[in-house]
């Protein structure tokens, strides 16, 4: 399955636009672990996660073609 990734702020450039996984499906928590293992530079940053354009705070199952967005907080004004 392929998961598309949107990354913002400091995370932009640290992650590819999509990631291919062997499994048919994967839950969000495992997917985040996988990201942190493969892209350790994201670990030190605080970010919120959206699945298919909704910010989710529980563990959901990801399917082929899902869009994951990773958003760090901005402070400037």
């Amino acid at each position: 399955m392929v998961v598309k990734i949107l990354s913002f702020g400091v995370l932009k450039g640290l992650l590819p636009a999509e990631i291919t996984i062997q499994n048919e499906e994967i839950d969000l928590e495992s997917f985040q672990e996988l990201l942190k293992e493969n892209y350790p530079s994201i670990v030190k940053h605080n970010f919120s996660v959206a699945v298919n354009h909704a910010i989710v705070n529980r563990n959901v199952t990801l399917k082929n073609g899902d869009v994951i967005a990773l958003m760090p907080p901005f402070s400037g004004g």
Binding site: N46, H53, I55, V56, N57, P72, P73, S75, G76, G77
Partner: protein, 346 residues
């Protein structure tokens, strides 16, 4: 027509009169909002002028809220504007916000963002928040009054010093104008009942891309929000965001030329700390406002042993809520102070 009246009758509070506050104020006036409050204790400085378009060269040194008030008075005669020439703090937040129907957070730091969000949750005031970073901006709409607002997205601050406010002079004016305008446009859509749920819009100036996200309720965010005003009044947002006031010499990046090591010993006390970032000011001079520290985001307060510096750091945190202020444990005498490290030849 009825919605038009709702907009005109709304009492709107803008917190922060910098890059976002300027376009938000102008757009609200153009939309016909007639009762507006402005909160900021900042004065106009030269580096503001490229993007904070309400201010001119002749306004340098004057309070931003007063200059903005004059601008509005000249251009929009019917707008009733209240200027609060103070920073929003735990002590005045409830009283000021209570008097308004809607809040626009145009501040430039995380302690203020969390404080404003929590206060608006407690007072059930819809909140529109804008934030910028480099070439990107975020617009938040928090209008579901049963939610935890900003804490639904980011339940707790990162509690780390790498969440520094970015160098504001690098933020292009077209970005802050765009984000400020979008904040007001979301407010209008909310009044017209087109969009009434919590959402986040991320905008990128580089490619003009805009992504919208729905914000769902977050149990952790609800748990982290103060449950009542008493609890809110006991919160310390600077500690939540920047950590404890006291830190060690080893935690300071002495290679960073932009930090300030503020030596608060009396003038006759020796030896001097021979590092480039040192500034010597006594407590009296600090309290007189001899230096406004406008060139620094990070202040490290140093005395002989780290005892005198702690209350001064607490004081400076209250005066400069958006600066990171620390007291250095062990002071000059500490084995890891630059003085002792130099003597030991390391």
């Amino acid at each position: 027509m009825e919605n038009r009246r709702k907009i005109e009758d709304s009492k709107v509070l803008i917190i922060g009169m910098g890059g976002l506050g300027c376009p938000v104020l102008q757009q609200l006036c153009l939309q016909g909002v007639s009762k507006i409050g402005l909160v900021d204790a900042d004065i106009v400085s030269l580096s503001n002028l490229n993007r904070q378009f309400l201010y001119s060269l002749s306004d340098i040194g004057f309070a931003k809220v007063d200059v903005a008030k004059k601008y509005v008075h000249n251009k929009f005669k019917l707008v009733e504007l209240t200027a609060y020439n103070q920073f929003l703090t735990i002590d005045n937040a409830i009283q000021i916000i209570e008097a308004y129907d809607f809040v626009f957070d145009c501040t430039d730091n995380f302690p203020s963002r969390y404080m404003i969000s929590d206060a608006c949750v407690l007072l059930k005031k819809p909140l529109f928040m804008g934030a910028v970073n480099g070439l990107e901006g975020q617009i938040f709409q928090f209008t579901n009054l049963e939610s935890a607002f900003y804490r639904d997205v980011f339940p707790t601050p990162q509690n780390s010093r790498d969440i520094l406010t970015c160098n504001q002079s690098n933020v292009p004016p077209e970005l802050t104008n765009k984000i400020g305008t979008e904040m007001v446009s979301n407010f209008i859509k909310y009044i017209n009942s087109i969009v009434d749920y919590n959402l986040l819009i991320n905008y990128n100036l580089e490619n003009d891309e805009m992504f919208q996200f729905d914000i769902l309720l977050n149990q952790e965010g609800i748990e982290k929000t103060p449950t009542n005003i008493d609890q809110f009044l006991k919160s310390n947002y600077q500690i939540q965001c920047f950590g404890n006031t006291a830190i060690t010499w080893q935690e300071i990046d002495l290679d960073d030329e932009n930090i300030c090591i503020l030596d608060v010993r009396e003038k006759h006390e020796v030896p001097d700390l021979n590092i480039s970032q040192v500034l010597r000011l006594t407590l009296d001079e600090i309290q007189n406002g001899d230096n406004d520290f406008s060139n620094y985001n990070e202040l490290y307060i140093v005395c002989d042993f780290g005892n005198k510096s702690l209350p001064i750091a607490h004081y400076l945190r209250s005066v400069f809520p958006n600066k990171m202020v620390f007291s250095v444990l062990g002071g000059i005498d500490d084995a890891f102070s630059p003085l002792n490290l130099k003597q030991n030849g390391s």
